[in-house]
Symmetry: C2
Subunit: 293 residues, 2 copies
């Protein structure tokens, strides 16, 4: 079903609308952070740990790759062999096919299918902190931002808006020099900003701190479900999702081959006509409106 | 005029359409790369160098900040004092006000105004490699991707799609250990991919390699103008821009307060009604279409 949705084959929307009525059980965890922060290793360890607790766990590994070629570079999924041997684990790799915006939508769609299939935990793992990766991570129930103890890393993370989407910070590779000062500067920034976001220190390479991390996640899950917070969060997520769907659908309808051709012609004559991008845009919108009338 | 455009005050589109007829002279340089790569320092040095060559130079510093709060964190512009004392230099800082997508459009709009005002060089400097920052950098005539000699950095850059948008790579902080191997691995990756993109080594802190970088930029500029490549590139950029404008305008028209309210109500009843996001989206689009008829 995920493949049908990914390819946009006939009936994909129906599948999703039907699956939707069966969603709501799975807890969705988004993992994001700069490249090299160890997100894949943490994901692997969490999967093993959740599975050992009899929680049916799935991973959606999101690799936006290039917005231009669509091809994954060195995107090995070798590590996956490590966890696919575990019983009830489902792993899916998703890459962008042209549109980055589309990727975040399809990823959430895939999560709906997995949710409807009865999984307990879905981990959405992204490769970096691009906009579409942030979109994916924040469309989860719980967003984990992974950082490493390198100078300025935490400040840069805050600049990139990660503080606003994080429910949990992980400071990984805490065997590296400077991890203590990185930890305290992260705590300081959070306290200045008035944010009570837990920070967990881990060393993924030696399994350090993973039990604490998993416990913190399950604690958060419990409190979100208990207080009805989860419902509020999910409504916000649906809000974003519905807007994305509308914007994609309108764009699909507008960009008929006729209007694509009109745009190409306008661009050819741009230098001669001296029509501004705004004037060309207005003409295309007018055409679209006239067609709807 | 840039402020009028930034705020969306009455007449902003007219200003842009009129300015557009006077654009085309300025060479637009986009500088992007991961946080901490030294983009600001390189920008400063390039401004000084171009100015010393009697090229009227402007900088648009783009700081997307948080998509949620819209507030710049620690976004100091102290360094700016260093170059504002130079004669014909214009510096403008632009931040996102809510919509990240909008930021890339407004930045290009501002560049049009500066171009029409008779500047020779416009540097568009971004703080990271988020999607909107990539959008800004690639809407330039020449896109410079700045990296540092850290392990895996170049591979991660390629994953993020930077190879496809780069006209020029800068390997900054080349006084750091591992810079030689980083340089050769970058060259190797580019050669495997069949890309002939120059790589310039710099040490911004000691002004090292800046003359070579500026020369390479001006060489590229000359060859682009001579071969008509610039026209092709600019048409591609207008193509992207026009699509952005259309999508924003449609979205503005669709999201009236009535439909915002309808969406809020639908979200409130989501759990009871079990209407999927797709079904809600369809209903809202149908309302919009009926209104246009």
């Amino acid at each position: 079903m995920i493949s049908i949705i990914e390819d946009g084959r006939p009936g994909w929307e129906n599948i999703l609308s039907r699956a939707f009525t069966k969603t709501g059980h799975a807890y969705r965890i988004g993992i994001t952070g700069p490249p090299g922060a160890g997100k894949s290793s943490l994901t692997n360890l969490l999967v093993k740990l959740f599975t050992s607790k009899n929680l049916k766990t799935a991973v959606i590994a999101v690799d936006p790759t290039s917005p231009f070629t669509g091809g994954a570079l060195l995107g090995d999924r070798v590590r996956m062999r490590d966890i696919t041997s575990l019983g009830d684990t489902y792993i899916r790799s998703m890459a962008s096919r042209g549109s980055l915006g589309g990727l975040s939508r399809k990823t959430v769609d895939a999560a709906d299918i997995i949710d409807a299939a009865g999984f307990d935990i879905i981990i959405l793992e992204t490769v970096g902190v691009g906009q579409s990766e942030l979109d994916i991570a924040r469309l989860a129930d719980c967003t984990i931002v992974t950082l490493v103890p390198e100078s300025g890393d935490s400040i840069q993370a805050m600049k990139a808006g990660l503080m606003e989407i994080a429910d949990l910070f992980v400071l990984n590779k805490c065997d590296r020099p400077g991890s203590d000062s990185a930890y305290s500067s992260l705590k300081t920034i959070l306290s200045i900003a008035g944010k009570e976001i837990p920070v967990i220190k881990t060393i993924a390479s030696t399994n350090g701190g993973i039990t604490e991390l998993a416990e913190e996640i399950l604690k958060l899950k419990e409190s979100q479900f208990a207080g009805g917070v989860i419902l509020k969060k999910r409504k916000e997520n649906y809000n974003i999702r519905i807007r994305q769907i509308i914007s994609e659908k309108l764009s699909e309808r507008l960009w008929t081959s006729g209007r694509e051709q009109y745009l190409r012609n306008s661009l050819e004559n741009l230098i001669v006509d001296k029509l501004s991008p705004f004037e060309i845009a207005d003409r295309i919108i007018k055409q679209f409106e006239n067609e709807l009338k």
